[in-house]
Symmetry: C2
Subunit: 463 residues, 2 copies
Amino acid sequence: MYGLILAGGSGSRLWPLSRELYPKQLLNIQNTESLLQATFERIAECMPASNIISMTGVKHFANVKYQLSSLAKETVVLSEPISKNTAPAIALASKYIMDKFNTDPVILVVPSDHMINNTEKFAATVKAGEKIAEQGYIVTFGIKPSYPETGYGYINVTQNKIENGYKVNKFVEKPNEKLAEEYIADGNYYWNSGIFMFKASVLLEEASKHSPEIFSKLANFDFSNSDEIPYIEYDKMPSISIDYAIMEKSDKIALVKLESDWNDLGSWKSIYDVSPKDENGNVKVGHVLDEGSKNSMMYSSSKLVASIGLEDTVIVETEDAILACRADKTQDVKKIFETLKKQNDNTHLVHKTVYRPWGYYTVLAQGNGFLTKMIQVNTGQKLSVQSHNFRSEHWVVLEGTAKVILEGKELILSPGHSVDIPLKAIHSLQNPYQETLKIIEVQKGDPLIEEDIIRYEDMYGRV
Amino acid sequence: MYGLILAGGSGSRLWPLSRELYPKQLLNIQNTESLLQATFERIAECMPASNIISMTGVKHFANVKYQLSSLAKETVVLSEPISKNTAPAIALASKYIMDKFNTDPVILVVPSDHMINNTEKFAATVKAGEKIAEQGYIVTFGIKPSYPETGYGYINVTQNKIENGYKVNKFVEKPNEKLAEEYIADGNYYWNSGIFMFKASVLLEEASKHSPEIFSKLANFDFSNSDEIPYIEYDKMPSISIDYAIMEKSDKIALVKLESDWNDLGSWKSIYDVSPKDENGNVKVGHVLDEGSKNSMMYSSSKLVASIGLEDTVIVETEDAILACRADKTQDVKKIFETLKKQNDNTHLVHKTVYRPWGYYTVLAQGNGFLTKMIQVNTGQKLSVQSHNFRSEHWVVLEGTAKVILEGKELILSPGHSVDIPLKAIHSLQNPYQETLKIIEVQKGDPLIEEDIIRYEDMYGRV
């Protein structure tokens, strides 16, 4: 069996914790590992880790690669040069697996940003699904609805059993509450989890029947010797979901019931729902001090959050933005995100702390002609060999030891030591040591923008 | 006429905007000037500015002095060596004025942290009060209650008129709501504004009758040649309010009605009440983005605050602490403040940005053996000549020009330039130039505490 992890995402639903350049799957919401990492480990219970490939956008490539590398050094991450929804991505990944590994396996497709608590039950469902997929069905995982949710699509099954699953009658859109109640009463409706299994050849055959505008373009891609998806060819594909392109049209769809706890973590309300609560129904994360709140969530990621007498309210604190929201309005976080995007307000895009393959940086202060960052370089990492046309830099080591290459000369700096990096000087910051390196960088110049960087060498392929 | 501004305060009520070391009167809540500065300017309409003295605690002395110096360079600020409530402070200030100026004037006593909108009406009330005070009365300013507030003390007047005022019958404690309604229906009850007027000799005479434990100790103070209040003598005074010590006991109390808008700004709810609102009843201050909230206040002092669907809620954002509170529970902010104090959590005490007579500093980052600050030195200011036993420092100029004295040597540094200050080196940072100076300071050492400072010279008298 092969696995495909879909790791795109806009970062809007869990704003301000998620950002466009750091969406939900990259976050450690409840655990020490991210949702993406948990997803990888979950499906690695069902197949060899080397059979798992991930697909993400250019924007998230470095972070997805970095997070997965810690679990499986050589794991394949495909990078979509432009976002095209799920159908092109899944079709292309199926072709990739067939081209690259010269095989026609069952492929398990999973979103990277859902919570599934019981890995054993999940693995059992995968096993059940595999049998059905091998019979030529596209298998979708359905969740028995526990309440009339109006935010999910539903799948209606027939009574015809195929192994441990059911033949699907139809896919239905997000219902209103009355309809959702009818679906629950009916008993033959399931939530659509977005998890699929199919033989690669079956998916491509169904694509050729129901989505020829995608299928016809697949021949333009050849992955036998390359992991790259060419922009010009990919841009010719339509942007369409797998549900619309194939699932709703094909008569070869079956459903297996997923028995694990499942939550799509699609809003702060869902995070509240799945989190442990105190005796007053409050979820408190981080540095929180409360006086008499009820059924509320106070989520602090850096600063003190003091709450008094709140009811059904969600507070989320991050270093550069605070969300305060009525619990039943957390879907509207998307509106805030869109407004910020329209206003070119960077708080939709990045965190104050920006993660890079080598570590991270935080902008500490910014003013007339200067910008100050704290930079952390993880052990064994190095920033690219680079120069800047419009800024000089001054580095002061805080923790660890810095190896600095400046115009070909090597300098070793310990805490308290500093160095000037003049305008246009070719330089590199490295941490070949065991201890994490932290430095303060003071930039001086105009303009002071991330784009003022000429890369000569880069261990992360960014030249 | 002379004036006494009472500028103490615990900083608890408007936390997290106010802090123990930066209480309400120092804040610019609605204007470009602080409540203290507005108070000074208001009473300077009624008397020469040089007749105004202020009294504050040691903790706030530098900030009070700094804020008032911008209005009247040589203004007298007395510093209580220990906090003793209002009666000792007012008695002492009365003696100070008699000793120092060899006169027995009418003294107007005002809190420094209230809002009074109409200065002309205020001045007219002061004029009316002066006439009554000259007849030997202690005059208190009363506010006609507009609703049954349970958070204020009330003053009950008789029908006996004295000039434009009334003879006071009694002072009553904060009532419950039923009682407060009865007071309003009665018509002879006023809110106690905490503003008083009296002839200095009258106050001291009443003190000798009703508070001999204070009066008897006044002889130990002589201000003819000094502005200093000796700790040992002051510590012998009881800690008691002027209301308890004199006002409730004396039969020489009169009330004049204050016609201006008045608010004690004693809670975030009061700030909400006096602030301009949008069509949904929201008060929005700073960088706020709202979706459908009602009757709420979103107060951002640095970061983005996004609010969705809030009702009757107060959100206050500061650099290191966020308050989220039901509007009718803002009195409980005090409980949070007390808890933080008990936990030795510095967020009760200081802001992330700490104001000093010469400017301010902000701690940007802190870690294992290092601490990074941004320091702003205002034009014409200099930090004390100092040295540190446990830390070295590294300075990088961001904006403006720094004059650095290091072991007797003078250095002039412009943006981008840096200097190392070794352990124990005697140094000073100065800004004798027109432009504001900003630097990054990286401290290295152990321990890294503010107290590790030996001062040799200081233009603000802190040696």
